[in-house]
Subunit: 412 residues, 2 copies
């Protein structure tokens, strides 16, 4: 179904005056405002900065140092996100690639009976290899929708992708090491140097409750879409803690420290990956004491076809997109073309496995030529749906998952 | 129920740093942003300009020439809008008050068997006098919610009020004049000079289809809330065409011209009081040929208590407001305090008569201290509800009726 010809065709069909280079969030020309100016896109009169990297598509660069780049919505149309279209999120520097990936060492220590140091080669041969299609999503995905602006990379909805990951279960490895009853939390360490390059400075180290670590979809991963895990995506080996803020899924994995208390590495404290416990005044300073850890990501639907700003020849519109919901399944996706007055259910496919995104499709028949916004709203298996705006403001802008809105112009 | 003590108390309770002078749309301090920055209020670091006029409350001045002033939401809490709180909308200059109101003359001509010129005194004694509580609403009410900005006074929701109007039925007068089968439309004329003061320049003259003119609630009015109609509100005599754009309700009425075709006076053509026939790109130029006349006003709910920006001592909140829906009745009002994820029905009172606004009340129990937005959404008897943003952009910004949003801070 997701044909790259279709995508290219749609990109050719965007409103006049916008060249093919300015893809993504800024497809629509300046005059084609979203009603009430949702800050849905990096403001870009000349278009956003596009990634130029071998093996990667022209993602939208949100930051250079560290490098962070998101996937424009119309590039998320594949059932499984290709490596070249997969978003890039770094906290520190990218380490050098090892000469011998199989010799890469991972240490398991802390609250275990038999601390171990195991090479990637041994890991691959000693434990069952499993493959799942699973979401990986930046904890700050949707941050740009907050007003006033929250600190950090201004992700729209493109800090998320669903690849097929192959690895071994973290649970199998931890069981082999013998998890003690005192185990409460994990602490994850990677080989990426601190952004300053100063080896004495601590790099990000996050972790998860032991139950999530033992969840059978939490993997130590060495293949992405059947290929060796690329360096930029954490190769040769990383964690995938699916459905949770991506920062838990340490890249360039070197150590799992099993803790007898909540992990306290860099990235666990202050306002990092934490939500306000009770709602605070937008733009206020907040107090780190009044926060809770961001764990599972919230429900979200993203329209992948047509592209925002598409000029369409027909009033008949076959819409496509993906939806996901952290620990939960997406039950319904509803579409509105009249600013939320009426809604029509989309068809939502079952996920191929837990933690995969779900395809939704809808056939729309717009009442006339002209300008429309098309809105998509997902609801999960717990009945939780997306808000209409990003509420619950917090200083670093986590949990922003307002309903997705694109603009289309139906030619007369 | 609407106690001015309560209102004053609420105004005293607004967030610190905002004085009592800056009432209304800008109660909340600069930092207390509405999520995703709905342009809900005239931007006002120092607060809006307040009306200083004998017999009038401190309305929010939207324009000086002509004078236009809206009622802040927390001043719309009365069952019947008092004269002092009633919004002011002018197109031209305010004429001089007549020395003898009863001698004021109104001409009925055009497609009638017996053209007439009748004094106000004769009108009052010759035809049955009736009283109704009815909405009067500026056609541009809600204009400020459009993005990009539309031309004209930037009304929030305060270009509307519900007074008790006393007058005679226009239908009775037209019947007395003998409406010909050729009658199609009315044209209304008032004594207000053109804004330039140049008597040779035509002042606004709008009209309505003959069926609406014959509707038993369409009145020639000379009393407002039991008092002689004040000059600023069109006294000594005006039309009230309830539920429709206020510009049809000519002030200082001098003539009803019954036409054999749609009226073509100033205010009927171009983009004036006209909506886009099919949706156009926001901010585009538009084409007057692709427009239709704005007739009935859309469904709308406005929270009158608490005030936007109120600081409240308790998590228990007794909310109040009014809702109305042009030609229709309001069936439901729903309240959300979580950005539209969940909704709770408010209690909606029946209107005292057709075209009156309807009181809604709700008891909320907010889950914690902190910052909340409270949203109100009305749905009419036809099942039409308010959109979440002002869609269907048009160059003069008519029909903007997004759901109402206020901010409150629950003290810990």
């Amino acid at each position: 179904m997701p044909k790259s010809e279709t995508l290219r065709a749609s990109r050719r069909n965007v409103l006049k005056g916008v060249g093919i280079a300015t893809v993504g969030a800024s497809l629509a020309p300046a005059g084609m405002a979203l009603a009430q100016g949702t800050p849905a896109a990096p403001s870009a009169a000349k278009g956003p900065k596009l990634l130029e990297m071998e093996g990667k598509a022209k993602l939208i660069v949100l930051g250079d140092k560290p490098l962070n780049a998101e996937t424009p919505a119309e590039m998320t149309d594949d059932d499984v996100t290709p490596i070249d279209k997969f978003f890039i999120r770094n906290n520190g520097l990218v380490p050098d690639a090892p000469a011998d990936a199989k010799a890469w060492k991972i240490k398991i220590d802390g609250e275990v009976e038999k601390p171990m140091e195991i090479t990637l080669g041994d890991l691959m041969s000693r434990f069952p290899n499993v493959s799942y299609k699973m979401m990986l999503e930046c904890g700050g995905n949707g941050r740009s929708f907050f007003s006033p602006e929250a600190r950090g990379n201004q992700w729209t909805n493109g800090g998320a992708g669903c690849a097929e990951w192959t690895g071994v279960r973290l649970a199998d490895v931890l069981k082999a090491a013998g998890v003690k009853p005192s185990a409460v939390y994990t602490g994850h360490y990677g080989a990426d140097p601190h952004l300053s390059g100063d080896a004495s400075k601590p790099a990000i180290s996050r972790g998860v409750p032991i139950a999530k670590a033992m969840e059978p979809h939490t993997l130590i991963v060495f293949k992405m879409n059947g290929k060796d895990l690329p360096l930029i995506h954490g190769g040769p080996v990383r964690l995938i803690v699916p459905g949770w803020a991506g920062s838990s899924s340490a890249k360039w994995l070197t150590r799992i420290w099993v803790r007898d208390k909540q992990h306290d590495g860099p990235g666990m404290g202050g306002f990092s990956y934490r939500l306000a416990k009770t709602p605070i005044v937008p733009g206020s300073k907040g107090d780190p004491k009044d926060t809770v850890i961001l764990e599972a990501m919230p429900v979200r639907a993203v329209i992948s076809f047509p592209a925002d700003g598409a000029r369409l020849a027909s009033r008949k519109l076959d819409l496509r997109g993906h939806a996901w919901a952290g620990e939960n399944e997406v039950k319904t996706v509803d579409i509105s073309t009249d600013y939320g007055v009426t809604w029509k259910p989309a068809k939502v496919d079952a996920p191929p496995n837990k933690y995969a995104w779900q395809r939704f499709t809808a056939s729309l028949d717009l009442p006339s030529a002209g300008y429309y916004e098309v809105w998509a709203k997902a609801t999960d298996s717990k009945g939780v749906t997306q808000p209409f705006v990003a509420g619950n403001w917090n200083p670093q802008g986590y949990g922003g998952n307002p309903i997705n809105r694109i603009r289309v112009l139906i030619a007369s």
